[in-house]
Assembly symmetry: C2
């Protein structure tokens, strides 16, 4: 674990420097200063840097140099930051990286707008690749990020519409499809393909990399959902049980609804269907009891382990022309992403 | 007026075809179909097409061909559509182009996400210029749009933070600065510079065009603010008096607050400071009375006229290498933008 943290910390430090140099800092119009402060808020909260680290390591593993991947890696970090500003509003989340979400601090209107402004800085970061990577690769990376945005908004839409339409009858496959789009693309698939692209690999391995990234990303999200139930808030940084309050259709919930007796299922639905503000701590505890009764967390853990193993097997089959060290670091990182405790 | 409508209608038709061909249509996952429908919703409501029309005409006036400007013009229309999805949420608006705003129809979470998804399609549209315009112009247009996004989000932030912080002591200059950023850049400056860029003019006239666009854009926004008070809802498409309910700091309000007696000013502030849901029709009528008492609408009209005249004078000084017809059409369009009744 600490080895993985060393790897990500070293890269994160370089990325952060690029990000904070690129974000606007001071403005003579007083009101705009607040916008700039809001844009720097989430990037300033210490994220793990898993996405940029993968991008840099994949670039090296495919024979490229770190320096060439840093701006794209920074753009991935900016993507994560602006999209979660919007996601936090959409999900009604209270905590992000241990502090109140941006809209809880500044209100929804300013937060939506700050997310849009930060998105602009992400595209700008990608465009700034032109000098070092040339026009063709720069445009290719822009297209890759656009595909990522399409996927992520589709996945987020699916999840939100389940909540909006009170849809509960879902299968693990429904969850997988949502999760691949919502999380796996931007968390694992695109960081890897971007790294390969920067190193000069034009689509040769895309399908294999995509398959590894999708499995790894789903395993990562399931792990995240489990930590949301059983994690340590000081480490995890989000509200423990937040997914229950927000009515999220996690793999645990889907499993429990399918396995539970009629009575238990009815109770689970009654509690989960309540609006967020009406759910009590007792409600959340009751959901946890039912998850335990039907071993739904055990089921999800097993599901995630299988996904992680499939990802690792797929990864072993990739042939990397670059240095062994980067490949070894990637393996450490992959293990960390599916076994982390925060 | 009808001449201006003929000009815009002809171009809007071509733009719409490109937009609807590019937006995703059908998806096998049921929930995603709703996202696609939401993305098509605002583009389907008949906007006037002022921004794309300017882009095409400026391209022609600078000696370029219409065909080359159409995709960028379509991207401008997409910008307007996704940004107003978010603005409508931020401003708490109820009506857009004569129908309920997207978030009133589908809720805030899905609407924020649909705006983000539509933004992705705008960037994709710009990237699709590559085949016809080449890499250099494509990248230049992307940078221009990024600058537009920075400006627009700054302007929107300024206006929102006035509302958020209950700031009322504002000068016409404060309004101008907000309005140039929020409206003028994307409504007039960028359509013109984009057209010139496509035609092959690389920054030679940018400052002059920018100055014309800023004046025209401010005149356009003041006209919009006046129509918001005195317009015909069937033509205007937004809620009449909506700006009063939303607490917008229009030029009329700023003027009235500066001119009114202490008693009238106190009353105006008392009414305007109420949360949107607590404002009554009588409140809105009382604000209108005070605007009339101090001739604040007359002041704004005069201000807009001066801005419009300055814009027209600046426009006359531009030397266009392209056909006279495009220049004449632009003049008709400019007159329409500052004198329109809807």
């Amino acid at each position: 674990m600490s080895r993985a943290r060393d790897i990500t910390a070293a890269i994160k430090q370089k990325i952060d420097k690029i990000i904070f140099n690129s974000l606007p800092d001071q403005d003579k119009v007083n009101e705009v200063q607040l916008l700039y402060d809001m844009m720097r808020d989430y990037p300033n909260r210490s994220g793990k840097g898993l996405r940029p680290t993968q991008c840099v390591l994949y670039c090296e593993a495919f024979g490229g140099v770190e320096e060439h991947a840093l701006r794209t890696a920074a753009a991935l970090e900016l993507f994560q930051n602006w999209i979660v500003i919007h996601d936090d509003i959409e999900d009604g989340s209270y905590l992000r990286r241990g502090k109140p979400t941006l809209h809880c601090e500044y209100g929804i209107p300013l937060a939506i707008n700050a997310g849009d402004a930060l998105a602009g800085r992400m595209w700008e970061m990608l465009l700034s690749n032109e000098d070092e990577l040339g026009e063709v690769k720069t445009l290719r990376l822009l297209r890759l990020f656009l595909n990522m945005l399409h996927r992520t908004t589709s996945g987020q839409h699916i999840e939100l519409s389940w909540v909006e339409n009170q849809k509960w009858e879902l299968s693990p496959e429904d969850y997988m499809n949502m999760c691949r789009n919502k999380t796996a693309y931007y968390t694992c698939v695109v960081p890897a393909i971007a790294g390969a692209t920067i190193a000069g690999f034009n689509g040769d391995f895309d399908e294999q990399i995509e398959s590894v990234g999708l499995e790894l990303g789903v395993a990562f999200q399931i792990r995240d959902d489990i930590l949301n139930l059983v994690g340590d808030v000081a480490k995890y940084g989000k509200e423990i049980g937040g997914d229950i309050y927000e009515g999220k259709r996690t793999l645990m919930l889907i499993h429990c609804l399918r396995e539970a007796s009629e009575t238990d299922k009815a109770e689970l639905l009654r509690v989960m269907s309540k609006p967020r503000d009406e759910k009590t701590e007792d409600d959340a505890a009751r959901v946890m009891e039912l998850f335990e009764k039907y071993d739904s967390i055990g089921y999800a853990r097993e599901y995630a382990r299988e996904m992680a193993n499939a990802a690792k097997e797929g990864f072993e089959k990739l042939s990397f022309p670059g240095p062994l060290e980067a490949v070894e670091d990637l393996k450490v990182l992959i293990d960390y992403m599916v076994d982390r405790d925060c």
